[in-house]
Amino acid sequence: MSDVRVALRVNGRAVEATVPARLGLADFLRDRLGLTGTHLGCEHGVCGACTVLLDGIAVRACLMFAAQAEGGDLWTIEGLHADGRIADLQEAMARHHGLQCGFCTPGFLVTAAELLAEGGRPSEQEVREALSGNVCRCTGYQGIVSAVLETARHRADRGDGPRDGEGAGRSLPAG
């Protein structure tokens, strides 16, 4: 089985590694880089627990090989937390009781980070649709939806526009 070399940026830092070609991106992040905030709930692309941002776009780490992230700019929950850009969302999630066991939480935060980075004032239905690829088994979703709605509203009130390199990344070529 062949090994491949990957070089990418993870949470703002350059990472280079030699990995088996079949190594999944989620396993790479969790086992090689110790970034265990990226969770695996289904390993076939349905639950969203493994969501990470790759070049500003929310992707499922369980559906990609590490090698496919070559050259990318990848952010996990650990990086988003450390750099403070979703601090408002995290605070709102706690206040609205948007988490119970917390297993789905990183995936929701990353998906919501992508939505919020687009700016604007999404409606409740738009938020629900944007989050519809993530499963939470504990909360019934209302707290999560309220937290995202409130964060979007506060950001819009403050006049935050779309952020470079995130929502704007939607129009950039991936990788």
Partner: protein
């Protein structure tokens, strides 16, 4: 200053929001052996041999274990009811002696047969493909009714047939009730097989501690103490040799309130190899091998008078427990008891049986018999109401217990043997509160807003036994720095115990909650425990912590008095410690910690560290009502839940935010079970719901906002005046949604009789109903 009753932000949240939770799969390190299980591909077969040599030789494989290596260990049953209940309810059950790894025969697809230990999960999985199992297929037993027939193959050869348990209980004159009826409705109701499906699958890690000779086991479980008991029962190891602890647990819902062969096998594997061994279940395994739930059929017969008052209620139910259930006693007894509902029922006759079939094991799932019982009774009431031309609300008003009836004795013993007495306040008033959550004007508005949908309203009531024993233990200690550490036997899986139990302890100690740190789920922290399930932790663990904290405070006061050389009665408590009444002389908690340390004046005193055990006199009952508005798309048969409300009669809310969250999360699971989720099998016994593409979970667009109204009712059955709430959101969701669909379609007769209420079932039902338009035009 009281912490109890405030919506304190959760302690758990900061680490979860930062991606720093510590779940089972996060524990493994370099050098950990990875386990993978070879699972049966046959529903029912004899095993003649398991050829493991090729797998064992694969580079990277350390060992391959089969049943023979495990000494044919079996998983012990987890619950037996009290003798008084056994006698009164003619209860009997059989132990299927479930093996940890299959011995000689397999009984469901997914049953573990062998265990590979390798340097990585990939290698372990590659090795699984090299193992050859020689099977001789046996006829699979898939229908629980046929399973109990005379010529059905017997699954467990040490038993004479496939009967897993039976029960029968009755009161009043049922025949006379039926004879006097204005209307009798008789129907069969089915609740499909589905389950907790926590977002984190199962997982176990075990490590021999070479210094102490002990074995440490981490497992993603709701019941670490029972896992320890089972490991020791299966292996013969003394209990003090084994520590079982839980890391952060990504949801449980009953699926993880079970002991599994995999937990015992991984413990034995670590012991055998002397290595740290981890097994992390994947979703494909989980859907076939983690316990399922529900799967009941009820033949129900309800008689009412011309006003809709219940005269007689009869139900005969059958539970399909698959290849076995360690909780069969709980499931069967819960179902029978909860058929009594929150109503005045003068005559009652219930018979139930559970059958073994060639399907996955069954455990408790949020409600564990309560939703099934509620579905049969509430659907029968709706059916009777239709026959009498009464509204669903009206027939319930005529039967619900009121403040004049309560406390209300039901002439049956509970599972603990104590005669049942509903300790509620006013069930009828709770229904009215519930109905107010979705005003009729709102329904009219929805109808105008959604002309494309047929819109209906459903309401359903339940009563549930919560806070069941036998006991829970707690412990509160003063730390060396003068703060407080709380431990209990109740392991958390998202319920927020680190927060709520700190709130309880803080109030009992009279200190600020920020000084209390609570953790649960470690057999080394408290030696005995039962666990988190059946809406019991706030009641049982909360009360144990309350008692322990009270004791600690009393002992601390005596020690403080000794330091000041005054009688203890002269000392008043304050948040920082104790003050001598009328003076400024104080002994703070930090002073006490310093005096208890070596060199202090209390250095010879035993530490301030108090255990307590709480044993409730019996259960306390939570009642509630659900209202649902559903929109049915007549083209596709899809059901959309548009509005939802729950009013419940509970006790003191330790943390109202968390109570609210339990109810809302429970409703989401109820919606899933009512509309989407089902474990299905082909007619040859192969599972056909092996991925989330087939086993459908409710998402953000399927679960609406849920309005919750809390009504307080005092109980004297625990010192905190609390009632359990963990299952309240789930139990009545099934019948409430079924009635909403009936109402939307204008269904006559029994309407929806089976869950999940899938589009094909909706379309079939709609065909039986004269079209609304035709009716409206007439």
């Amino acid at each position: 200053m009281t912490a109890v009753g405030t919506p304190l932000p959760r302690r758990e949240d900061a680490r979860m929001l930062a991606g720093r939770g510590v779940f089972l799969a996060d524990l493994a390190g370099p050098g950990t052996l990875h386990a993978a299980f070879l699972r049966s591909t046959r529903p029912h077969a004899l095993i003649h041999g398991v050829e493991t040599a090729a797998a064992a030789e694969l580079p990277g494989v350390t060992a391959v274990l089969t049943a023979a290596d495990l000494g044919a260990a079996t998983v012990p049953l987890l619950t037996r009811p009290d003798e008084r209940f056994v006698e009164a309810a003619a209860f009997a059950m059989r132990d299927p002696r479930l093996p940890c790894l299959a011995t000689g025969r397999v009984r469901y697809v997914g049953e573990p047969i062998a265990l590979v230990l390798a340097e990585s999960r990939h290698v372990a999985e590659d090795a699984l493909e090299l193992i050859e199992v020689a099977y001789t297929d046996l006829e699979p037993v898939l229908d629980p009714a046929l399973a109990l027939g005379d010529d059905a193959p017997v699954l467990h050869p040490h038993l004479e047939d496939n009967l897993a348990a039976r029960i029968a209980c009755a009161f009043g004159d049922v025949a006379a009730g039926h004879a006097a009826a204005a209307v009798t409705v008789e129907e069969t109701y089915r609740m499909g097989r589905h389950g907790g499906v926590p977002l984190e699958c199962r997982g176990v890690m075990a490590r021999p501690d070479r210094r102490t000779g002990r074995l440490e086991v981490w497992t993603s479980s709701q019941i670490p103490h029972q896992v320890r008991t089972a490991i020791c029962a299966a292996t013969g190891w003394p209990e003090d040799r084994v520590r079982v602890a839980v890391p952060d647990v990504g949801g449980g819902f009953g699926t993880k309130a079970n002991v599994y062969g995999e937990e015992i096998a991984v413990a034995i594997a670590a012991e055998r190899t002397g290595r740290e061994v981890v097994w992390v279940e994947d979703r494909a395994e989980h859907l076939v091998a983690a316990a399922h739930g529900r799967d009941q059929v009820h033949r129900a017969r309800l008689s009412v008078d011309a006003e809709g008052r219940i005269l007689a209620w009869e139900d005969e139910f059958l539970v399909d427990v698959g290849a076995g259930s360690l909780w069969v006693a709980g499931i069967v007894a819960n179902t029978a008891i909860h058929l009594a509902g929150p109503y005045r029922i003068p005559a009652f006759h219930v018979r139930g049986r559970a059958a073994f079939t060639n399907k996955t094991l069954v455990a408790q799932y949020r409600g564990a018999g309560r939703p099934e019982a509620c579905f049969a009774l509430e659907r029968s009431l709706d059916h009777a109401a239709r026959r009498l031309g009464l509204s669903p609300a009206k027939i319930r008003r005529r039967n619900l217990l009121t403040g004049d009836d309560l406390p209300y004795p039901v002439p049956l013993p509970y599972r603990d043997g104590v005669p049942i007495s509903y300790d509620g306040a006013d069930f009828a008033a709770c229904l009215e509160d519930c109905l107010r959550l979705v005003p009729e004007a709102e329904v009219r508005r929805l109808r105008a807003e959604h002309p494309e949908l047929a819109i209906g309203v459903g309401v359903a009531c339940y009563v549930e036994a919560t806070g069941r024993g036998p006991y829970e233990s707690g412990r509160v200690g003063l730390t060396t720095s003068g703060d407080f550490a709380v431990a209990t036997g109740a392991a958390a899986a998202g319920q927020g115990h680190e927060t709520t139990l700190a709130q309880v302890a803080a109030d009992a100690l009279g200190v600020d909650v920020c000084r209390v740190r609570a953790c649960g789920g470690d057999t080394d922290a408290v030696p005995y425990g039962v666990g988190t399930f059946a809406s019991r932790s706030a009641v049982l663990a909360g009360s144990a912590v309350h008692e322990a904290a009270g004791r600690l405070r009393a002992r601390a006061r005596a020690l403080a008095a000794r330091l000041l050389d005054v009688p203890a009665e002269k000392l008043e408590t304050e948040p920082d410690g104790f003050v001598l009444a009328g003076t400024g002389t104080r002994v703070s908690w930090r002073d006490l910690a310093a005096e208890l340390a070596p060199g202090g004046r209390l250095e010879l005193e035993p530490a301030l560290d108090e255990p307590a055990l709480f044993r409730p006199p019996t259960v306390t009952w939570t009642m509630g009502a659900h209202v649902a508005v559903a929109g049915v798309d007549p083209e596709t048969g899809l059901v959309r839940v548009l509005r939802y409300g729950v009013a419940h009669e509970g006790g003191v809310e330790i943390n109202p935010m968390i109570v609210d969250g339990q109810i809302k999360g429970g409703v989401a699971q109820g919606i899933g079970g009512a509309l989407l989720e089902e474990y299905t099998y082909s007619d040859t016994g192969q599972p056909t719901s092996g991925t989330f593409a087939d086993y459908l979970l409710p998402g953000t667009c399927e679960v609406p906002a849920v309005a919750v109204r809390h009504r307080h009712a005092d109980t004297d059955r625990n010192p905190l005046n609390v009632r359990g709430v963990g299952e309240s959101g789930t139990i009545a969701a099934y019948p409430a949604l079924a009635q909403a669909v009936d109402d939307a379609l204008g269904a006559g007769g029994p309407g929806v009789t089976a869950t999940p209420i899938t589009p094909s079932r909706v379309l079939a039902l709609a065909e039986d109903v004269p079209a609304r338009d035709a009716e409206a035009a007439a």
